[in-house]
Symmetry: C2
Subunit: 343 residues, 2 copies
């Protein structure tokens, strides 16, 4: 059992598994331009809050390495331009802004460095962010695995796995670690409309790792819970407010209500970098509205008549009181979150 | 505003609008063989509990008209064979069995009739079932319309409209009648995976009638309710137990929980023929499991990897206590239902 590696830095290029083509095609993209990376993030070729953070960090590195700037002000302008482009790709996942802030911090920390030195330092920082993410995924898995007993069935939504991180995932890391420790775990994966990350990605990566997975329509999750077929619900997060309100893939909020109604624990697994200390509650989290065509012709076939309105929010916000516990690299936590324990 | 007419009997043929091709193509099928009708029901070319009942009744007529039987026992065998084939198409909607029972009753009621006379009597009964359904739809609409105030937004799931009946629908009849009485009504339509009846059919028929409709993924309904964008939820039913437990399209149960959680009324609109007095509660309703390919490659594109399990129940059962009221042709009703008022 070896979870797939979806993002890596090789020969000065960012290598990502193109997630729009799964499960039918396995295609790795070698990205060496910031604009290509921005396109890849917007079109979800790389996706998942932690993976977007890692990718954005390397986007700044690509800008640094490819810069033709001959003086420091020009170089910094190139970096800023790249960071702005990357920041504009997707509004909800806070890891994106967190990673760009860290890259920015490197520039500020070395005012005397040359262009060449700064480029090397930025590459080192991005590599550190990637390594930390891998490490954090492992620790999330270790902390969460004891929550899953041998024989448990876990219901999950969207993809919070190896495909969403540089490591073994967040929600799925918990499953991978439980399985590695010898437990038998069965997974129910919501297909997750409109882009079917559950069907296309979660089912694919769990299958690659030899884990038993069953795909269902999002609307069938209530029946799985009604029939006591799932022992817990386990999802990732795109942004967590300090009070515990959590933005995640559209459908998570309803699923949390359904889990509570059926007395099934509802866990959120995420790195602490997902917590946004600049806000107070979920009300302040911006929700990305995506192209209506994801719903009206997502499979290449028109499924909504012309003239109908379409509502396509990519995320929703689950209030903290519906979440049984948070699994971070620092352990099982409950809000409110304090900045000192979550750097 | 004129709701579409999806099923009619013309020149000894059953004319149905092929619902698998909507919204991109409007194709009417002229069916004159029972086997073609059975195929059309299995593949949801004609669908919706009331429409299936009407179609099945005419299926028996087709068998009678096309029979080459030279004596009554042979003729009755032909009819029985047709009824058995039709009864085997779909297990959940009770209207199918109710309509076949009525056709059976005609055969029993005229023991002295000739083959020709019996065929004519069967055609008359099927025409009566169709006419009654049209009439019942109108009455459901009339009874339900006062529940919708001017300016209301209604959230619906699947298609319980003109495309699901011989008339103007059940849930959508309420909307059509409210609009006809001068009210402005806005509709949110769950797309309704896996077969997207909400996106393809409900949005199409409401659009044809000039009613404002917005399509959303099933998983976004919770947000619509959270944001108080819907004033009520209104759905149809495939089978109702006398205690009020209601089988309807997969996703209805979860939606009922979400409506209750947000203090939004949840109404079921259905003809009284949908009530099954042969059972006690929803536990006895058989739930159709449909082909996994509806989920794995529903639109000609593979969206689930080989090897993954797939769970595809077509219906779920909503317990009666989650349903605010039932709208039938006899008025606004609450369970338990008694047979005497619901023949």
């Amino acid at each position: 059992m070896a979870p797939v590696r979806s993002i890596s830095w090789e020969n000065n290029r960012l290598r990502i598994l193109d997630q729009t083509l799964l499960p039918s095609k396995i295609v790795y993209l070698e990205i060496d331009r910031v604009s290509d990376l921005a396109e890849a993030i917007v079109h979800l070729r790389v996706r998942g809050a932690p993976a977007i953070g890692v990718a954005a960090a390397f986007g700044v590195v690509l800008a640094a390495l490819r810069s033709s700037a001959e003086n420091m002000p020009e170089f910094k302008q190139h970096l800023r331009h790249a960071a702005n482009l990357l920041a504009s790709t997707r509004p909800t996942a806070v890891n994106l802004f967190w990673a760009l802030d860290r890259m920015d911090g490197v520039v500020d920390a070395y005012p005397g460095a040359s262009i060449r030195e700064l480029a090397a330092l930025l590459e080192k920082e991005a590599a550190a962010i990637l390594e930390e993410d891998r490490n954090v995924c492992g620790r999330i898995g270790e902390h969460g695995a004891p929550l899953l007993r041998d024989g448990f069935s876990v219901l999950t939504h969207c993809n919070a796995g190896a495909l969403a991180t540089a490591g073994i995932g967040t929600a799925l890391a918990v499953i991978y670690k439980a399985v590695q420790s010898g437990k038998t775990i069965k997974v129910f994966a919501d297909e997750t409309r409109p882009l079917l990350q559950g069907a296309r990605l979660t089912a694919w990566e769990l299958g690659q790792a030899g884990i038993d997975v069953t795909v269902l329509c999002d609307s069938a999750a209530a029946v799985i819970l009604q029939q006591k077929k799932a022992d817990c619900v386990l999802v990732g997060a795109d942004r967590i407010a300090p009070n515990g309100d959590t933005a995640n893939k559209i459908g998570t909020y309803g699923l949390a209500i359904l889990a509570g109604r059926h007395d099934v624990p509802f866990y959120v697994a995420a790195p602490s970098s997902t917590i946004d200390f600049s806000i107070q509650s979920g009300r302040e989290i911006p929700i990305e509205q995506r192209d209506f065509r994801e719903i009206s012709s997502g499979f290449g076939v028109q499924t909504v008549p012309d003239g109908a309105g379409i509502y396509n929010p990519a995320f929703d916000v689950t209030p903290h009181n519906l979440i049984s516990a948070f699994i971070t690299e620092n352990g099982i936590q409950r809000p409110p979150f304090k900045k000192k324990n979550n750097p």
